[in-house]
Amino acid sequence: REEEEADRIISLPGQPKVTFQQFSGYVTVNHVAGRSLFYWLTEAVSNPLSKPLVIWLNGGPGCSSVAYGASEEIGPFKINKTSSGLYMNKLSWNLDANLLFLETPAGVGFSYSNTSSDLYDTGDRRTARDSLAFLVHWMNRFPRYKHREIYITGESYAGHYVPQLAREILSYNANSKHPLNLKGIMVGNAVTDNYYDNLGTVTYWWSHAMISDKTFHQLVNTCDFHRAKNSDECETLYSYAMDKEFGNIDQYNIYAPPCN
């Protein structure tokens, strides 16, 4: 009870008055290395006890911070232009669920490790393991969520994090007397398969008239899309496509100018 109360957010600077509860703080996921993950829970606007728990992860890798999902997509608040305060997101997903934002792995956002080398050798495996450890320990701090329906959601490189955490939970449940009630996962613009993602990406660029026929054929004929790391020739082609043929656009939203 005390740990939960210690994590209660009274109010954030410049925050409008709200009726829902929110909590944030740290959960240690590895005592030896001293890794702790930071979370922010914004409970549902109404009947939080009957609403599911939805975990949201962003991508990167290295970008699953509260800057994205929490602050500009599904969270209840958005940050104003001068960063002096917050305003309400009227279409926040906490209209329908309790939202748990997790900054993972250690090294992202406020999540940290006391072992500085951790920042140089973290990957999918440690991220999934630490995120599971977080969830199990977090449930002890918030026991009212122990049997709640859980959904894991996210976007981009969280196309890895979300299914991998779900797989960790399935393994945990197989050997636990207190299984986690995982019901589903939902991912958006998700990194899924190196080869088919890469092939589909250059096809999209070509079919949306963002690159020339010549560049498209060179990319398809030069790059080995199976490889995680491109050859120099391939890298040169990608750079030419993005720098010379895309032109002055926001790649994340192709009909908009880039953020200067």
């Binding site: 992202v108 956002g109 920042l119 019901k183 991912v187 958006g188 088919y196 990406t201 994340y252 953020c259």
Partner: protein, 148 residues
């Protein structure tokens, strides 16, 4: 450029205090993305499709969506990848609607629902918040997206 607002807001001491964050005085500023982690990512699965198969076998609900004006992980990338699962179609391809506007297209397979979101970039709820909320609600209810 809303990411810049976050870079300022979450580095304010009063905000960190209210969030019980940075209690150990992390020796670097809070940033939206960790360049160090990103450049030194140690291991990455080449394909998540085998994980999808495991999750489906365990009865976990899987929804995949795609904002169709993103060029970083675009809709064709997701479609090529999901096609490798060779799933049986339950409800064939149709446009789904939000407030009498086409929200995107969708197809329901055995074990997985795929939906595009028309006009949304990489961060779908940022660009199409109402459509994204309807998508989320349908996911929670596990109901096909509305046809009108």
């Amino acid at each position: 450029c809303t990411e810049k607002y976050a870079e300022k807001y979450y580095n304010r001491p009063d905000v960190q205090k209210a969030l019980h964050a940075n209690t150990t005085k992390i020796p670097y500023k809070w940033t939206a993305c960790s360049e160090t982690l990103n450049r030194n990512w140690n291991d990455s699965e080449a394909s998540i499709l085998p994980v999808y198969r495991q999750l489906m076998a365990a009865g976990i609900r899987i929804w995949v969506f795609s904002g169709d004006v993103d060029s970083v992980v675009p809709v064709t990338a997701t479609r090529y990848s999901l096609a490798q699962l060779k799933l049986k179609v339950k409800i064939p391809w149709y446009p789904w609607y939000v407030k009498k506007q086409v929200g995107g297209w969708t197809e329901v397979y055995e074990g997985l629902t795929f939906a595009t979101v028309r006009g949304a970039g990489h961060e779908v709820p940022l660009f199409k918040p109402r459509v994204a909320l309807e998508l989320f609600r349908a996911f929670l209810r596990d109901k096909p997206l509305s046809k009108s």
